[in-house]
Structures are given as structure tokens and as C-alpha cells.
């Protein structure tokens, strides 16, 4: 359908809906990867600032990034908006986890009503996005980010790039909404192969086309370039007020008509000054540790039931508004960011998550696997320490076969080189004075952190103890000093020994009697 078939008002409204849908999509995705639970309140009365009748907070930085990526354009046919989620370890290795794509194809729905049906379906699509963002594998990873890795996001506009997701990536479609100018589709492609490779394999080539966001801002994890951390928190958020409130304020569509033919149109809304909406509780993203910018502490705020800032409900923008047949009024959307009350409440905790090999609990097995993968980052080609789980797609979500430990060389070190007899093996030992030996060097062990190994009292940790004593020296009584004796000498000494035994035979017999 040609754009010219769409009334100017419909076109204007549709563009607005698409623009704010794109912005809200980005907010939902990034907020779902902050690593914390999100909580917003329902409001029985519309505020005029909640697009699509959903309480989705606007993080100013994210809105800014999204607008920068869009650069005044809208997602359209051949122009997709993508949000890329990556993981970056503290050692600098990174991996793309998923890419969310907001696209439009050429399939048009001429008969659909813009301001009613399209609007409501976009609302439904956002709800689906809220649900799906908790289901893809990156969600669990993002909930555990902190010390050893962080989740980053990048927004770009143009052609979709999925090559960084590795082989065998899966796609889930969130939903579609038909419009008179094309069908909006929202989908997610996510990585299934979580095995880390060397950083060289992850060097990214510049996209062929499209607007790329490139931010050279000081980051706690070093040069993250164009990626933004999902747990980064701009200064000033502690006060509960977002910075960067836009000057141009628009109120979003909240009013509809129930008149049968005009049921599909919304009423004209007037411009509203910025209002404070403090009713939505929001789990604050983590803060940077000022003392050590490389240490990110994840704060997990338990949302309080009551917001800190009382809600100020504006004058209902719909008063006096009249639904007009055949016209869709201009409904300038709300673009300001509402103030956020402190949601720490009494239950706020600070969790410092460090991924260590701590035990065999399932949560930790994921972490265990992860640490080993980090260990495999040592820049050595060829054989690396791998467990059976590293070959599995989404190893973290594979069944916890406890034979993992049986196959794991870090738990069951490889045996010493095969020898024909134990005796000969002992003859080749390094001697009683040395511990360890070549056996422990058969594999590369980096950052071996055995379970419960943390020990502040002794200078030696469990790992060191294990390495030093896994090849103890042979007992002296089992050692045959070949150089000092020969077979012939053994035979010569036999008659003397026999004579001694025969002389003392009575003693031996008496001893045997005591045993019976």
C-alpha cells in the first residue's frame, strides 16, 4: 500500500507509535539485562506518560543511545533496529549472546486502524517482549553478572548482523504487528554455543552498512568501545531523579472512543508540561565501586511496595477532548523521564558476585564451568583444558550429569605416564626430596580454584597443597637401591642367613605357637 493512501494524521500517528515502540523495546531489553528484578506499579488512572499503557521506565542513557542510533530515522523496510547483548569478562574477552531485531517487512495491512488496533497490538507485543526477555539464556547470565563478567548492550540501526552469535544460533519470534505501511516484526537470535574461543576469533569486523554507535567513554572494564554496560549507572540516579529530561515533552495516547464507527480513533490530547510520576518502583542497577573502578558491585534492591516519591497525577489530558469521526488526532507522546523513588527499602542487599569454583550445586556448576572457560583464555593454541560440558550448546542448561566430574581433568588429574610395573615406576621417581614432578605438568591448569579452597589462615591453599602432594615420594622400604646390590651378592648372602635362622629355630617356633 502506498503511503499516500494513509491519511496524514494516520501517518503521523503511526510514525510516532513506531518511534516510541522502538524506544520502549530498547528499554525493556536493556532493563531485562541489568541483572536485577524489574518492578513497576500499575496505575488505575493514566498519567499521560506511559506509552502503550505499560509502566516501562525510561533510563535516560538508554533512551539517548537509542535515539542516537535512530538519528531521526524510524525502523522501516530495510532499516532494522537491533539491540545486541554481549558478555565481557574481566580479562577482556567478550562474546555476543543475543541480538534483538525490530524489523519491518513489506507486507501491509491496509484495513487496520492505526490509532486503535495497531496501538493495542504494539502494547501486546511489548508485553510479549517482557515475557520473552526472561526466557532466553542471556537472562540467567545477566542475573549473575558482577565481578567476573558484565553484560553489555549495543544499539545499531541498519542491517542485522548475526555472525557474532556463532554457529547454530536459535531464533525466537516475539511477535508481529501489521500496519498500513508494513509489518513490524520483533525477534531474538541467541547464541547456543557458549564455549569461549580465543579473543582473536572474536575480533569483529566493521559492519558493512548502518549507523554504528561508537562511544569512547571511560569504562570500568577498560576499552569497551561501542558497548554499553547493562549495569552501568549514571551518577545522580541515587537521588531518585533521572537526568537528561528532554525539553520537548509529549503525552502519549491514552484515550479512546467507544462510539461504534469512531471506536478506532483516539481523541486529541493537549500538550502537557512534564510531570513527576514517582509511583513506579524500580530496581536500581548496580553502582560502580569508586575505589576500584574495575570492581563492579551488583546491588540487588528488593523493590519496596511503596514508592518514595508520591505520585503527582496531572490534570487528565483528555478532558474536553472530542473523538472525531474520520480523524485521528495528534497525540504527542510523552518523552520525559519520570522521577524514580528509591526502591531500596528494608530488604536491599549488596551482593558481590564472584564466579569461583565453589562446589557442585547447580548454580555453581554453571559458575564452575564459566571459570574454567575463563581459564581456557590463556593464549595457547592447541589442547586446552576442556570438560565434556564445553562441547554442549548451552552447557549451563544441559543436564547436570555428574559424570562431568569424572571427565573433568581438573578434578581427576591424568595418571602418571604408564609404566610396565609399579616397581619400575618407583625407580623412575624423582626421589623422596622432590614433590610434584612431571605428572602435574601434563595439562595446563590456570586459576585452579578447588571447592572451598579459600583459606586466609595458612599461606598455602588447597590447590597448592594438592599439587605438591599429589605425587608423594615412595617409601624408603619400597625403594631398591640397584646400584649397591646385585643378584649375585644376594645369592651369596643366602647361606649365612639360613644358618642364622636355623640356629634360632626354637625362637621362631615359640613365636608361631603364640599366634595360634
Amino acid at each position: 500500500m502506498m503511503d499516500s493512501d494513509l491519511s496524514p494524521q494516520d501517518k503521523k500517528d503511526l510514525d510516532k507509535f513506531i518511534k516510541f515502540f522502538a524506544l520502549k523495546t530498547v528499554q525493556v531489553i536493556v532493563q531485562a539485562r541489568l541483572g536485577e528484578k524489574v518492578c513497576t506499579r500499575s496505575l488505575s488512572s493514566p498519567t499521560g506518560s506511559d506509552w502503550f499503557n505499560l509502566a516501562i521506565k525510561d533510563i535516560p542513557e538508554v533512551t539517548h543511545e537509542a535515539k542516537k542510533a535512530l538519528s531521526g530515522q524510524l525502523p522501516g523496510i530495510g532499516r532494522s533496529m537491533c539491540v545486541e547483548i554481549s558478555l565481557k569478562t574481566s580479562e577482556g574477552d567478550s562474546m555476543e549472546l543475543e541480538t534483538w531485531c525490530l524489523e519491518m517487512n513489506e507486507k501491509c495491512d491496509k484495513d487496520i486502524k492505526v490509532s486503535y488496533t495497531v496501538y493495542n497490538r504494539l502494547s501486546l507485543l511489548l508485553k510479549s517482549l517482557l515475557a520473552i526477555t526472561r526466557v532466553t539464556p542471556a537472562y540467567k547470565l545477566s542475573r549473575k553478572q558482577g565481578h567476573d563478567y558484565v553484560i553489555l548492550y549495543r544499539i545499531y540501526f541498519g542491517e542485522v548482523q548475526l555472525t557474532g552469535l556463532g554457529e547454530g544460533f536459535q531464533t525466537v519470534r516475539v511477535g508481529v504487528v501489521g500496519t498500513p505501511i508494513g509489518t513490524i516484526t520483533l525477534s531474538c537470535a541467541y547464541r547456543t554455543n557458549l564455549a569461549f574461543m580465543s579473543t582473536r576469533q572474536f575480533e569483529r569486523t566493521a559492519p558493512i552498512m548502518g549507523i554504528i554507535i561508537d562511544h569512547f567513554v571511560e569504562r570500568p572494564f577498560g576499552n569497551m568501545g561501542h558497548m554499553r554496560p547493562c549495569n552501568y549507572r549514571a551518577p545522580g540516579e541515587d537521588e531518585g531523579a533521572y537526568n537528561g529530561v528532554e525539553d520537548s515533552q509529549e503525552v502519549c495516547t491514552t484515550s479512546f472512543s467507544t462510539s461504534p464507527p469512531s471506536q478506532l480513533y483516539c481523541s486529541r490530547l493537549s500538550y502537557q508540561p512534564p510531570v513527576l510520576v514517582g509511583a513506579a518502583d524500580f530496581c536500581h542497577p548496580s553502582t560502580l565501586n569508586a575505589a576500584n573502578p574495575h570492581q563492579v558491585t551488583t546491588q540487588m534492591g528488593i523493590p519496596g511496595k511503596e514508592g518514595g516519591v508520591p505520585q503527582q497525577v496531572p490534570v487528565q489530558p483528555c478532558h474536553g477532548a472530542q473523538a472525531e469521526h474520520g480523524r485521528v488526532s495528534s497525540c504527542p507522546p510523552a518523552d520525559h523521564v519520570p522521577a524514580t523513588p528509591s526502591s531500596s527499602g528494608e530488604g536491599a542487599e549488596t551482593l558481590s558476585r564472584s564466579i569461583e569454583v565453589k562446589g557442585v550445586s547447580p548454580c555453581d556448576v554453571l559458575e564452575t564451568t564459566f571459570t574454567r572457560k575463563v581459564g581456557a583464555f590463556v593464549n595457547k593454541p592447541g589442547t586446552q583444558v576442556t570438560t565434556a560440558s564445553l562441547d554442549l550448546p548451552f552447557a549451563a542448561f544441559a543436564p547436570r550429569a555428574y559424570d562431568l566430574e569424572e571427565n573433568d581433568p581438573m578434578v581427576q588429574p591424568p595418571e602418571s605416564p604408564a609404566t610396565s610395573s609399579p616397581l619400575q615406576g618407583s625407580l623412575h621417581s624423582q626421589g623422596s626430596g622432590e614433590s610434584g614432578g612431571p605428572a602435574q605438568d601434563d595439562f595446563v591448569m590456570v586459576d585452579f580454584k578447588p571447592a572451598f579452597s579459600k583459606d586466609d589462615l595458612l599461606p598455602m591453599d588447597l590447590g597448592t597443597f594438592y599439587r605438591e602432594f599429589q605425587n608423594p615420594p615412595q617409601l624408603a622400604s619400597l625403594t631398591i637401591d640397584v646400584s649397591s646390590q646385585s643378584m649375585a651378592e644376594d645369592l651369596d648372602s643366602l647361606p649365612e642367613k639360613l644358618a642364622v635362622y636355623e640356629k634360632n629355630i626354637d625362637e621362631f617356633d615359640a613365636f608361631v605357637d603364640t599366634l595360634q
Binding site: 528484578k37 524489574v38 518492578c39 513497576t40 506499579r41 500499575s42 496505575l43 488505575s44 488512572s45 493514566p46 498519567t47 506511559d50 499503557n53 505499560l54 509502566a55 497490538r121 501486546l124 507485543l125 508485553k127 510479549s128 517482557l130 515475557a131 520473552i132 526472561r134 526466557v135 537472562y139 540467567k140 542475573r143 525466537v172 519470534r173 516475539v174 511477535g175 508481529v176 504487528v177 491514552t254 484515550s255 479512546f256 472512543s257 467507544t258 462510539s259 469512531s262 471506536q263 481523541s267 513506579a280 523493590p303 487528565q316 483528555c318 478532558h319 477532548a321 472530542q322 473523538a323 550445586s361 547447580p362 542448561f397 543436564p399 547436570r400 555428574y402
Partner: protein
């Protein structure tokens, strides 16, 4: 208008029944709830805002999003609690909990209003008993993955954009929506369940209307 019917099946351990049912029912209700309608003059109405919150399951490696409405949550929990009690604690069994969205059609006296379902979600639950902690641990993750698949299934169906009741006038709103809650407005729904006892294969149906 034909009623759309969707069936979801899950196998869970006894202690996971509550959370698994809550996760799926709330996911469906998230998509089938709007903000409160406020009718004005000239036939216009405004819609309130629906908030959402993340819920972490204790017995399943899974998190889901539900509508921020304690009232709605209480109602659903009560229904799920009754379903679980009917299933029996810790015993093997099969059951089915159904979430039915319907419209009321006014009838003239002396006939009562007719309830016409337009969408029915049936969740078949198979409860298993596990022998040891290792199996339970595996079950935690497996059920979490399964629930994720079910959420994707739900979203696929919802986004087919099939029949939805027309937005009602003020006088008709109670025929389409449940307006009893203060903060959100789900479509009129009812929850029913039936239990199949593996011993006697007898079916017992409880009807639970909200």
C-alpha cells in the same frame, strides 16, 4: 465465533506445581489484562497503566513476569493452591487446570446471562515423584527450560492476533472485563481444574469461578 483452545503440558515435581502454574497463568493474564478503563463523556475512555514485576521461582530455575496487581495474584494463587491440594501433596498424579476467557451475553428474563468462552488455555500437569536430590536438581533445570518453551508457545498464540472482544461501552464493560480489581482489568475469566487419580482413574472436577 469459535472458541480458541490451547493446550500446554508440563511434567513437574510435587513442590513445583504451584510455581509452574503461576508462571503460565500469569504469563497468559499479562497479555489478557489491560489498565482500568475510565469512561468520560462523548463516548471516550482512557486506559490506566499496567505495571509488571519479575518473579523468581524457588523450586524451578525460572523467572517470569506478572502483572503488578496483588489482588490478581491472590486470586490466582488461591486457585492454584486449591488445584494443588486437589492433586495431593507429593503423590503422582495428573491434573488439568484451565483458564477460560469468556464474554457475558445478556439474556432476557427469566433466562440467566450466557457465558460464551472465546479463549481457553488448558494446562495439563503430570506430577512425578523423584527419588533423590540429584534428580530434583536436574528437574529444577529441566522444568525451567520447559516453562520457557511454554512461554514462547503462549506468546506465539497471543501474537496471532485472533479474536478479541470488541472494546465495550460503559454499560457493557462488565460483560467483557473483570472490573472488580482496583488496579488492572483482565478480560472476564474463570479457572477450572480436574484431577485424574492414577489409582482409580476417576475424574473429579472442581469448578472454581472468579
Amino acid at each position: 465465533m469459535n472458541c480458541r483452545s490451547e493446550v500446554l503440558e508440563v511434567s513437574v515435581e510435587g513442590r513445583q506445581v504451584d510455581e509452574a502454574m503461576l508462571a503460565l497463568l500469569h504469563t497468559i493474564l499479562l497479555h489478557r489484562s489491560t489498565g482500568k478503563f475510565h469512561y468520560k463523556k462523548e463516548g471516550t475512555y482512557s486506559i490506566g497503566t499496567v505495571g509488571t514485576q519479575d518473579i523468581d521461582c524457588d523450586y524451578i530455575d525460572f523467572s517470569f513476569v506478572r502483572v503488578s496487581s496483588d489482588e490478581l495474584d491472590r486470586v490466582i494463587r488461591k486457585a492454584v493452591g486449591e488445584f494443588k491440594d486437589a492433586m495431593g501433596n507429593g503423590t503422582d498424579g495428573m491434573g488439568q487446570i484451565s483458564l477460560e476467557f469468556y464474554q457475558k451475553k445478556k439474556s432476557r428474563w427469566p433466562f440467566s446471562d450466557e457465558c460464551i468462552p472465546w479463549e481457553v488455555w488448558s494446562i495439563k500437569v503430570n506430577v512425578v515423584n523423584l527419588a533423590n536430590e540429584q534428580e530434583r536438581q536436574i528437574c529444577r533445570e529441566k522444568v525451567g527450560e520447559k516453562l520457557g518453551e511454554k512461554v514462547i508457545n503462549i506468546v506465539e498464540v497471543i501474537n496471532q492476533h485472533e479474536y478479541l472482544p470488541k472494546m465495550p461501552t460503559q454499560s457493557e464493560v462488565d460483560n467483557v472485563f473483570d472490573t472488580s480489581l482496583k488496579d488492572v482489568q483482565p478480560y472476564l475469566y474463570k479457572i477450572t481444574f480436574q484431577i485424574t487419580d492414577t489409582l482409580g482413574t476417576s475424574k473429579t472436577t472442581w469448578f472454581c469461578a472468579y
